[in-house]
C-alpha cells in the first residue's frame, strides 16, 4: 500500500516538475527509479542486445596491450573505463569471404549477425533472433530494433526475407512500448480489456483458418508464408500477454513521452536520439516488455552539422596523420560513438532493480563491419561484449584470437543465452570453437 502511494507521488512529480524545469530526458527517467526487489522474489530474466556500429575503430588504438584479465583499455576505449570489469574485448578475429563478392560495409555486417554471406534473400536468422526465440518468448515484444539516424535499416532478421526493421523515431517507439496498449505491471487492479479479447478472438479464428486456404504454394512461398504466420502469432501472443495480469516489477515506471526528435543525421541529433532510445530500452526491459534489443548506430552517413564530410567519407578520404599515425577525424567520430555507447551502458546501470541494475542482467554485443574502414579491412576486426547477462559469462577479459572467425563470439554468446547451438556460421565463418576463457 505504501508503495503504491509512493508511486503515485512520483508520477505526479513527473507530470509537473520534470517537464517544466526542462531536465534532460534521461534525468526524468532516473528520478523515477524504484529500489525494491522484484515483487515476485524470483531472479529477473536476462536481457540481450546488439550494438551495431559501422566503420570499425582506428587500428592500434583500441586493442589492449595485455591479454587476459586486468587489461588496461587502449586510448580509443578509455571512455569505457567505468565498465572495464564488465567489458570483454576480442581482438585478432576476422571475417572470411573466401572469394565471394565483397559488398563493402555489408558483407562483414552480415557475417557478424548471421554467420554467413547471403546470396539474394537466402540467409538464416540473425543471432539476436535465435536468442529471442529462447529468452524473449514471454515478453510483449520478442525484440525491439532502433536506429539513431532515423533509418529503417537493420541487420536483425528472422531470415533473409523477413528483416526486422529499425525504428528511427523515439516518439514512435515510445508509443509502441508505452502507448495505450501498455499494461503497468504495478497497477493495483487489472481488468482484461474486452476489446483486446475481441481482437484476439478475431485474429486467432482468421489466422487459424488461413493456413488451410493458402495451400498450393511452392516451397519458396511456403517459407515466406510461414514467416508471415510467425509474425501473426507474435501479435496474438502480444494480445494474450495484454490480457493477463502482469507480474509486478518494482523497477518499472512509465517514462515520460519524448517529444518528436529530428532524425539523427548529424552527431548532435544522433546523440539526442541515442539518449532517448537508451532510456526507452532500459525501461522496456525494466517493465518486462522485451528482453532483446538491437541498436543500429548507422554511422556511415553521420557527420558534423554543416560539414560535407560523412563519417564514411572521412574513413576513405582523410589522410593518416603523419605525427599521430592515425586518421584524426575518424578517431573523433569513433570517440563520439564510444562515448554514446558508454552513456547507453550508464543508462542501463542507472535503472536499479533491487540491489542491482538492468545492466547486471544484460549482455550487449558490440559489432562492426570492418576493422580498418579506410581500406575495407576484414582482418583484426574489433568485437566487444559488455555485461554478463545475469552471470552467464565471465567478464573483464581481453581475448586475443588471431585469425579466428568473428563468429566464435556470436556462437559463445548464443550458447550463453541458452540457444542450443554447437556450430555456427557457414564456410570459413563456421565454428564450433566457443571462447572457453569466458564461459562460466
Amino acid at each position: 500500500m505504501s508503495k503504491l502511494h509512493r508511486r503515485t507521488v512520483l508520477r505526479g512529480m513527473l507530470g509537473g516538475s520534470a517537464i517544466t524545469v526542462g531536465l534532460p530526458f534521461l534525468d526524468c527517467f532516473l528520478n523515477s527509479n524504484g529500489d525494491a526487489l522484484a515483487a515476485t522474489g524470483a531472479s529477473l530474466p536476462p536481457v540481450f542486445g546488439t550494438w551495431f556500429q559501422h566503420l570499425g575503430l582506428n587500428p592500434g588504438m583500441w586493442e589492449p596491450e595485455t591479454v587476459g584479465p586486468n587489461f588496461k583499455n587502449n586510448i580509443q576505449l578509455e571512455v569505457l573505463n567505468p565498465f572495464r570489469d564488465r567489458l570483454n574485448i576480442y581482438s585478432g578475429m576476422k571475417y572470411f569471404i573466401e572469394g565471394k563478392p565483397l559488398q563493402t560495409h555489408t558483407t562483414g555486417s552480415q557475417i557478424a549477425m548471421t554467420g554467413e554471406i547471403p546470396f539474394g534473400t537466402s540467409g538464416g536468422p540473425s543471432l539476436d533472433s535465435s536468442i529471442a526465440d529462447v529468452i524473449g518468448r514471454r515478453t510483449r515484444f520478442r525484440s525491439l530494433e532502433v536506429s539513431f539516424s532515423g533509418t529503417r535499416d537493420s541487420y536483425s532478421q528472422r531470415s533473409g526475407t523477413s528483416i526486422n526493421p529499425s525504428e528511427g523515431s523515439p516518439a514512435a517507439m515510445y508509443q509502441r512500448i508505452f502507448g495505450p496498449d501498455f499494461k503497468d505491471p504495478n497497477a493495483a487492479e487489472f481488468t482484461p480489456d474486452p476489446h483486446t479479447m475481441a481482437r484476439k478472438s478475431v485474429l486467432s479464428a482468421v489466422s487459424e483458418h488461413v493456413k488451410g486456404v493458402m495451400n498450393n504454394v511452392g516451397a519458396n512461398d511456403r517459407a515466406r508464408l510461414d514467416e508471415y504466420f510467425t509474425s501473426i502469432r507474435q501479435i496474438e501472443q502480444q494480445l494474450a500477454i495484454e490480457l493477463e495480469k502482469p507480474a509486478p516489477l518494482e523497477a518499472c515506471s512509465m517514462p515520460p513521452s519524448p517529444e518528436e526528435a529530428p532524425p539523427g543525421t548529424v552527431l548532435e541529433d544522433a546523440a539526442t536520439n541515442a539518449k532517448l532510445f537508451g532510456g526507452l530500452l532500459a525501461y522496456a526491459a525494466a517493465c518486462g516488455q522485451t528482453q532483446v534489443f538491437n541498436i543500429m548506430v548507422d554511422s556511415m552517413a553521420l557527420r558534423k552539422r554543416g560539414s560535407a564530410y560523412t563519417w564514411h567519407m572521412a574513413t576513405h578520404e582523410e589522410s593518416v596523420d603523419d605525427q599521430l599515425g592515425y586518421q584524426k577525424g575518424v578517431f573523433e567520430f569513433n570517440e563520439w560513438a564510444n562515448t554514446i555507447f558508454a552513456e547507453f551502458l550508464g543508462t542501463l546501470e542507472n535503472v536499479k532493480e533491487g540491489d542491482g541494475s538492468v545492466l547486471d542482467r544484460t549482455l550487449v554485443l558490440w559489432l562492426t563491419d570492418h576493422s580498418d574502414a579506410r581500406v575495407h579491412g576484414l582482418e583484426k576486426v574489433p568485437v566487444m561484449t559488455v555485461g554478463n547477462g545475469g552471470g552467464r559469462i565471465k567478464t573483464g577479459m581481453h581475448v586475443s584470437a588471431p585469425g579466428d572467425p568473428v563468429t566464435r563470439v556470436g556462437l559463445t554468446v548464443q550458447q550463453a543465452m541458452g540457444v542450443p547451438v554447437n556450430t555456427w556460421g557457414v564456410d570459413g565463418n563456421e565454428t564450433s570453437n566457443t571462447i572457453s576463457e569466458i564461459m562460466v
Binding site: 481482437r199 482468421v206 508471415y228 509474425s231 543525421t265 560539414s307 560535407a308 593518416v320 586518421q327 581500406v375
Partner: protein
C-alpha cells in the same frame, strides 16, 4: 435469404473512383479456380507483397480517398533493380505485422464511424448492439472480393461473418464487431500478398498459366498499380479473361483509363529508385534551399514530366533525357533559379505550373533534374561516381561492381591537398590506382559531365575556386555538360532495351529468365517499331499470353542470385 443489392463503396468526394458492386451475395460463393491436378511436380505459385503504394491505392479505391492510413510499412527490398521484384521475395516481420494490424484497425474504425458508415455500409443491422449475419455477410462479401481480388470462398465468408458476430457479442456493438472482422481481413495474407493461382494451360500440355483472377490482378497492378476493379473481376468470373479477345478488350479499357497514369508513375518511381527520397538528407547549411518541400516536389516533378511526355504527348521514351518541358513549383524554381510567375494568395498549397527550360538554360532532360543530381549525391557534396553508377544501373541496366576490399583510397583521394580542387582532379587520381581505375572508368566520365549541378541540385561553375570542366564520355561518345550527356544517353542502344527489360520484370515480378528473354526481345523490336511509345509497350505486355504463362521448368522463374546489396550505404 440475402437479396441481390447494389452497394456503393466510396465516399462522395471520389465518385469517379467509386465501384458499384452489383453481384448478388450468393454469387460470391465461388471457390477459386485452383484445380491444379496435372501430373508431375506441383507448379510453383508466386506471391508478391503489396507495396505501400499499392496498399494505399487499394484502400482509396475501395473505401475512398479520405480514409487516412497511418503507420509504417516494412521497407521494401530491391532485387534486380526493382522493388517490385523484391516484393516477390519478402515476407512480413513481427514489427511490420504490428503496423499492418494497427493500420487495419484504424482503417476499419474510420469505415464504421458516423461519417462513413452510411456511405460505405449499405445495409443496416436489425439491432446496433447485436451481431447481424445478413448485413455482415453482405458487407464483408462485397469488400472482401475487392480486397482479396477474387470472390471469397463460402468458408472464408462464413469465417469472417462468424468472427464479426463473436466480436460484436463481446463489444456489444454490431459495427465494432464488423470493424474487427474487416481489420482481420486487411491483415490476412490474401490481402497483403498478391497470391497468384495457377491452372493447367490448355494450349500447352504439362504447362501452367495464371487463373483468370490472377490474370486480372497482374493486369491491374501493372497498368493501375491497384487491385482489379469490379468490371475486371466480372471479366475474370464470366470467362472473358480466358479469351484473347476478351483480354484485349479489358486491356484497351484499362489503358484508356486515367488510372494508367498511376501505373506509369508507380513503375518509374520504382525504376528510378525514388524510394530513396524517403531517407534523403541534405545539409541545410551547405544547401540552404534544399527543403523537405524541394525533396517532395523534385520527385513529383520528374514523374509529372515523364507522365506528360509519355502519356499526354505520346512522346518517344528516349526523349525524356533531352526534353526541356517540365513542371515547376515555387520551391523548385528557387533551386533552378528560374522565374516563377504565379499570383497565388499567400498560404496557397504548392501549385504546379507547366514550365519549359529556355534554350540557353543548361537544363534538359531528367538527368539534369534535382531528382537525379541531388538524389545521387552526398549530404553536402556532389558525387560524379554515385551519379555515374546510378545512370549505368538505373537507366542502362548495367551493373557497376562494388569497390574491392583492402584498397587504400586515401592515397589517391587526399582532399586536403591543394592539388585537387575539383572532383575531377580527385577522381582522375584514381586512374593511377589499377584497383580503382577499372570501375571508376565506367562511372566517372558520365558523372563528371554533371558537375555543374551541385549536391543540392543547384547550378555551379567553380569548385574551390577552380573552373569546373564538364567534358565527359559514354561508351565512346564524347560530350560536354548535362545536355550533352542527355543526348548521348538518349542515343545509347541500352536505354530502350533497359526500359523493356525493367518493364517486363516489373510485370512478371521476376527478372526474365531464358524463356521469357525471347519474349522480351520481341517486345524490344516492337517497342522500336512503335517509335518507343511506352503506352504501346505496356499494352503489348498486357495482352501477351507470355505474361500469364508459367513455365513448367522453374529455370525461367529463378531470380538471379546476387549478394544482397544496400546501395544507399555505398559511397565512392
Amino acid at each position: 435469404m440475402p437479396q441481390s443489392k447494389s452497394v456503393r463503396l466510396a465516399s462522395v468526394a471520389v465518385a469517379a473512383l467509386t465501384f458499384v458492386a452489383t453481384l448478388s451475395v450468393t454469387a460470391l460463393v465461388v471457390s477459386p479456380a485452383a484445380s491444379v491436378e496435372a501430373g508431375g511436380a506441383s507448379p510453383q505459385t508466386f506471391t508478391r507483397r503489396l507495396t505501400p503504394d499499392q496498399y494505399k491505392t487499394i484502400i482509396a479505391d475501395v473505401f475512398g480517398k479520405d480514409i487516412r492510413i497511418g503507420g509504417r510499412f516494412d521497407p521494401g527490398l530491391r532485387v534486380d533493380g526493382l522493388l517490385e521484384v523484391g516484393a516477390g521475395e519478402v515476407s512480413v516481420s513481427a514489427t511490420g505485422m504490428e503496423q499492418y494490424d494497427a493500420m487495419a484497425r484504424s482503417i476499419a474504425n474510420q469505415i464504421i464511424d458516423d461519417k462513413h458508415r452510411r456511405l460505405l455500409i449499405s445495409c443496416e443491422p436489425k439491432a446496433n448492439d447485436k451481431p447481424d449475419a445478413e448485413c455482415a455477410t453482405q458487407f464483408l462479401g462485397t469488400v472482401g472480393k475487392l480486397l482479396f481480388r477474387r470472390p471469397l470462398t463460402s468458408e472464408e465468408l462464413n469465417l469472417h461473418v462468424e468472427a464479426a458476430a463473436a466480436a460484436a457479442l463481446v463489444e456489444k456493438d454490431f459495427y465494432k464487431g464488423l470493424a474487427l472482422s474487416l481489420a482481420g481481413m486487411l491483415s490476412q495474407p490474401q490481402f497483403l500478398f498478391r497470391h497468384e493461382v495457377l491452372e493447367a494451360d490448355p494450349d500447352r500440355k504439362g504447362a501452367y498459366r495464371l487463373d483468370a483472377y490472377s490474370k486480372a490482378s497482374r493486369l491491374s497492378f501493372l497498368l493501375w498499380n491497384s487491385g482489379p476493379d469490379e468490371r475486371l473481376l466480372e471479366a475474370a468470373e464470366n470467362g472473358e479473361m480466358s479469351t484473347q479477345k476478351g483480354l484485349t478488350r479489358q486491356v484497351e479499357r484499362m489503358v484508356r483509363s486515367p488510372r494508367l497514369a498511376s501505373g506509369v508513375r508507380a513503375f518509374f518511381s520504382d525504376m528510378f529508385h525514388f524510394d530513396q527520397f524517403d531517407g534523403l538528407i541534405k545539409d541545410t547549411q551547405i544547401y540552404p534551399k534544399f527543403s523537405s518541400q524541394v525533396a517532395v516536389d523534385s520527385r513529383d516533378q520528374t514523374l509529372r514530366t515523364v507522365v506528360d511526355h509519355l502519356l499526354v504527348r505520346k512522346g518517344d521514351y528516349r526523349d525524356i533525357f533531352t526534353t526541356k518541358k517540365t513542371f515547376m513549383t515555387k520551391a523548385l524554381a528557387a533551386v533552378y533559379k528560374v522565374p516563377f510567375g504565379m499570383n497565388l494568395p499567400n498560404g496557397s498549397p504548392d501549385a504546379w505550373m507547366p514550365y519549359e527550360f529556355s534554350e540557353d538554360d543548361p537544363r534538359a532532360g531528367i538527368l539534369t533534374h534535382i531528382s537525379f543530381v541531388a538524389l545521387h549525391s552526398h549530404p553536402g557534396r556532389s558525387s560524379p561516381t554515385l551519379r555515374g553508377k546510378a545512370l549505368r544501373e538505373i537507366m542502362l541496366c548495367q551493373k557497376v561492381p562494388s569497390p574491392p576490399g583492402d584498397v587504400d583510397f586515401t592515397l589517391v583521394q587526399d582532399t586536403a591537398s591543394e592539388e585537387y580542387k575539383t572532383a575531377r582532379a580527385r577522381l582522375t587520381a584514381h586512374s593511377t590506382e589499377p584497383a580503382c581505375a577499372g570501375c571508376h572508368k565506367i562511372t566517372d566520365p558520365i558523372g563528371l559531365a554533371l558537375e555543374n549541378f551541385n549536391g543540392g541540385g543547384e547550378w555551379q561553375t567553380t569548385e574551390n575556386g577552380a573552373t569546373i570542366d564538364t567534358s565527359g564520355a559514354l561508351d565512346g561518345v564524347s560530350f560536354s555538360g548535362g545536355e550533352g550527356l542527355g543526348e548521348a544517353v538518349r542515343n545509347n542502344d541500352a536505354v530502350a532495351s533497359c526500359l523493356v527489360n525493367r518493364m517486363a520484370a516489373y510485370a512478371l515480378g521476376k527478372k526474365p529468365g531464358p524463356v521469357k528473354s525471347q519474349w522480351v526481345s520481341v517486345l524490344e523490336s516492337k517497342f522500336a517499331d512503335s517509335g518507343y511509345l511506352v503506352q504501346d509497350l505496356m499494352k503489348e505486355i498486357a495482352v501477351s499470353p507470355e505474361l500469364f504463362r508459367v513455365s513448367s521448368s522453374n529455370l525461367d522463374e529463378l531470380t538471379m542470385l546476387m549478394p544482397r546489396h544496400r546501395p544507399d550505404k555505398e559511397g565512392e
